[in-house]
């Protein structure tokens, strides 16, 4: 047994015969905000449901706060969950939604009143206590769902894509609100999302998942700057990923990521990696070893984005707007250097 606060050990989760998550190990520390990040179908929601007890694992064990809860039913685990849909009770007022769990715990009525009011105040909804969920805006419903879970003082708070139903501005607002709440309450939070920028902004640590496996686990900076695999790099915005097809005499020969075109692009230096990846900002345009034709140019405020076609495919580049402007159809020089490349494995 590990000394982590939440510990998933050799967890296998399945829907009927189809296995969604095979043999997962994950430790979560007390008071940490951890993000399960990945594309839809990667097993992140399934994992979260298993922690909540809404899904029985096929094998493996789940420990929370040192106790094996694998066979403990969902209503006795003391875990909070904020659903993507919020899952508020439409027949109850905001106040009663928050009081729901406390009443089930048979908390004394004056305490309920005090805690509910405190909970509503914490998310800024004290004025709207008598409203029904349908009479609240999306952002207010979101806060109410948070308050309903937080008032129970759960051991772990799970959040399932809680920001995905909000518009862009509200999303940013709720992000900082979540961080504030986490600081204030010091509750361990598991945040499930498919949005890498959300994960990067919020999480202490990010668990990047793919096909039920952990592809990479690390801090936001580690994942952003140093992805290990093609999958992780793809997810973190490395748009230029090329295969190292050959390596000799101090030169690397690059090929398209999965094309069978025999064309090669050579760069100086040698690398052990199977793949090399560059962010668009790491590609310089106007000078360099390589040559290609500009296929599109897009103005993006601070920068200008080019798509350049060369022998091994398309290269995306992002250069400061101050630089010389190239037009579609121009043949330009560009540079991919080993020093700015991120080496990857498959």
């Amino acid at each position: 047994m590990s000394d982590a606060y939440v510990s998933l050990q050799q967890l296998t989760l399945a829907y009927g015969d189809s296995i969604a998550v095979p043999d997962l190990d994950l430790d979560i520390n007390e008071g940490e905000l951890i993000t399960l990040l990945g594309p839809s179908g990667c097993g992140k929601t399934t994992t979260m449901r298993a922690i909540a007890g809404l899904m029985q694992p096929k094998s493996g064990r789940i420990f929370i706060d040192g106790v094996d809860v694998t066979r403990v039913s969902a209503n006795k685990r003391q875990i909070g969950l904020v659903f993507q849909s919020y899952a508020l009770f439409p027949h109850l007022s905001a106040y009663e939604n928050v009081a729901f769990g406390l009443r089930l715990r048979r908390v004394a009525s004056h305490q309920i009143q005090q805690q509910v009011n405190q909970g509503l105040e914490r998310v800024g909804l004290q004025q709207l206590a008598t409203r029904k969920p349908a009479e609240l805006s999306g952002g207010q419903q979101q806060r109410l769902a948070l308050a309903r879970s937080l008032v129970m003082q759960p051991k772990v708070l799970l959040l399932d894509e809680p920001l995905s139903n909000l518009d862009a501005k509200l999303r940013l607002e709720m992000r900082s609100e979540l961080q504030r709440l986490q600081r204030e309450t010091a509750i361990t939070m598991v945040f499930v999302t498919h949005d890498q920028s959300e994960a990067l902004a919020l999480a202490d640590r990010i668990v990047l998942m793919s096909d039920g496996h952990i592809a990479q686990l690390g801090t936001a900076e580690e994942l952003y700057n140093a992805p290990d695999t093609v999958f992780a790099a793809d997810f973190m915005g490395f748009e230029n990923i090329f295969k190292v097809a050959d390596e000799r005499d101090g030169l690397c020969y690059l090929a398209g990521r999965d094309s069978d075109v025999s064309a090669r692009l050579e760069i100086a230096g040698s690398s052990e990696a199977g793949y090399l990846a560059w962010r668009p900002a790491a590609v310089s345009v106007g000078q360099g070893q390589h040559r290609g034709e500009v296929r599109s140019v897009a103005f993006a405020g601070e920068t200008r984005e080019y798509v350049i076609e060369c022998t091994i495919g398309f290269v995306k580049a992002q250069v400061p707007v101050g630089n010389r402007v190239h037009a579609v159809g121009d043949v330009v020089d560009f540079e991919l250097s080993l020093s700015t490349a991120r080496p990857l494995r498959d």
Partner: protein, 259 residues
């Protein structure tokens, strides 16, 4: 412009055909004379009042009420959990169960009635009332299951899971979260079942014996003997009853959402 008038005319004619007969019944019942005629020979409420004096109408009305209320309630007691199970869990033979439940709608009522009479009432010594009760329950059950299923479908599973995570048992989640939110659907199912059961003829046809008749059957029998406006008056009253119930339901619940 001409198109607008043409369109109004079409609607008007159709509605006249569909609803006109009622107005005729209402007025025919208002007749002061003793035979059925339209326009009535003078106006009076006497036939509307006379209806309440007919002993057999009173008895059959009570029976019909009992069947409609009791049968529908029983159907709901069976149907709500059935609908819940069918919509939330993947049951083995789920499709077959659905088909069996729906069967009373598809199988013509007269056949159901005859079959029940011949193989339940006669050999097993069921009372006629008992058989009628069973038949009406079975008949209303599909409506109950369907209407309740429809309102369950609008209710997200999330909500029950949220309740469970807040400490409810599964049963508690059902009674605290699911039931309050499908109240409207259940009431709609009750009204639909009530109206269906109350107006039902074919199923009850064979099952009604002397002394035990549902109201519509009694009306047909009465019609065959006498030719006075009382049946018209009674028909009009029943029509008002049905319309009234549905109107009130629509007013307060938006009944039509569920049908």
């Amino acid at each position: 412009m001409t198109q607008l008038w043409l369109s109004r005319l079409v609607i008007f004619l159709t509605l006249t055909f569909l609803i006109g007969p009622f107005f005729i019944i209402i007025f025919a019942g208002l007749s002061a004379g003793s035979s059925l005629a339209f326009p009535p020979d003078g106006l009076s409420l006497k036939w509307y009042l006379a209806v309440f004096e007919v002993e057999s109408f009173r008895k059959s009305f009570i029976l019909s009420m009992f069947l409609a209320v009791g049968g529908t309630l029983t159907a709901l007691v069976l149907g709500v959990p059935a609908a819940y199970a069918l919509s939330r869990y993947k049951l083995p033979f789920g499709e077959t169960i659905k088909l069996i439940v729906a069967a009373p709608i598809i199988v013509p009522g007269i056949i159901v009635g005859l079959a029940l009479l011949r193989y339940l009432v006669v050999p097993l010594d069921f009372t006629v009332t008992m058989a009628l009760f069973l038949a009406h329950t079975a008949l209303v059950l599909p409506y109950a299951v369907r209407v309740v299923s429809a309102s369950l479908q609008n209710l997200r599973v999330d909500m029950e899971e949220a309740a469970v995570l807040l400490g409810c048992s599964r049963l508690g989640a059902f009674s605290r979260v699911v039931l309050p939110n499908i109240q409207g659907g259940i009431l709609a199912a009750f009204i639909l079942g009530f109206v269906t059961s109350f107006n039902q003829v074919p199923v009850s046809l064979f099952l009604s014996g002397p002394g035990v008749r549902t109201l519509p059957i009694d009306m047909i029998a009465y019609m065959e003997i006498t030719y006075d406006p009382s049946v018209a008056a009674l028909s009009a009253l029943l029509a008002f009853l049905s319309i009234g119930i549905v109107f009130v339901a629509e007013r307060f619940l938006g009944f039509s959402r569920y049908v």
